[in-house]
Symmetry: C2
Subunit: 151 residues, 2 copies
């Protein structure tokens, strides 16, 4: 929680966050920095509501509307993705735009990231060899439904 420069920067790597926003062509406002940080920090692909709850603990004046607008602009700029989810009523967001897969836990409703270059290669090879009729694939994401193993 405490860091060497905590009087100026709420996050350990505020400079990095600024850079990410600048790179995406977005203004680095106080609100967006906190929202982006929360999105990166929160586990399991949060909803706008969950981001907002996290965010107001650092900056109580940030409104839910602003969170929605910021997340929209992040998605438009390619900084963030929307996650496809069958359960629940709200949209979920993912700050990680690299190609990866998701584990859906039927018990806890969690969405867990799963990354495996070997699996990616396997899938790409499969479609390279087989092809898809009248469809140009761009990216792949495997949804694995199941439950966490209780020890």
């Amino acid at each position: 929680m405490a860091s060497s420069t905590d009087s100026f920067f709420p996050a350990p790597d505020a400079g990095h966050l600024r850079a990410r926003l600048a790179q995406a062509g977005l203004r680095a406002t106080r609100q967006r920095l906190v929202i982006l940080e929360s999105l990166l920090t929160l586990p399991g692909h949060p909803t706008a509501e969950q981001v907002h709850r996290q965010v107001i603990s650092q900056e109580p004046s940030i409104s839910l509307g602003t969170v929605y607008k910021a997340l929209d602009s992040f998605v438009a700029a390619g900084l963030t993705r929307r996650v496809a989810a069958a359960e629940g009523t709200s949209r979920r967001y993912d700050a990680d735009c690299t190609e990866h897969h998701h584990l859906f836990c039927t018990e806890t409703q969690e969405i867990i990231d799963y990354c495996d270059p070997q699996l990616d290669a396997l899938i790409r090879e499969f479609f390279a060899a087989k092809g898809l009729h009248d469809f140009q694939p761009h990216s792949f994401s495997l949804h694995i439904t199941g439950s966490k193993v209780v020890k």
Copy 2:
């Protein structure tokens, strides 16, 4: 539109629809028969709203609330699935409960079913060999994002 038995049965295979409902332990009401038929007929995984629009062309008195309740009971009974979608605000439903994959077209927003036992086998083999840390997989669904090839 016209069929040999259209005075009694709106659908060609009403008997089959009744059987599906009975098998799931659900009462075969007039409304559910029409809703299930629409769900099977409509292309690209419709929303409750889209099912309702289709349904009222056959039975104008069916309310949107009834469509929601019927779809809920179908899902609870395992007759129908909810489809995971990142785009749009409404839930989408899929009458096909067999394991299959989805093509997401970024141009038309369509969700197209894709079925390939060879791919299923490949994925199952991969996880059988490799395993997942602390997770018991139950089903797999590959989301393929891309665009339809224009001829």
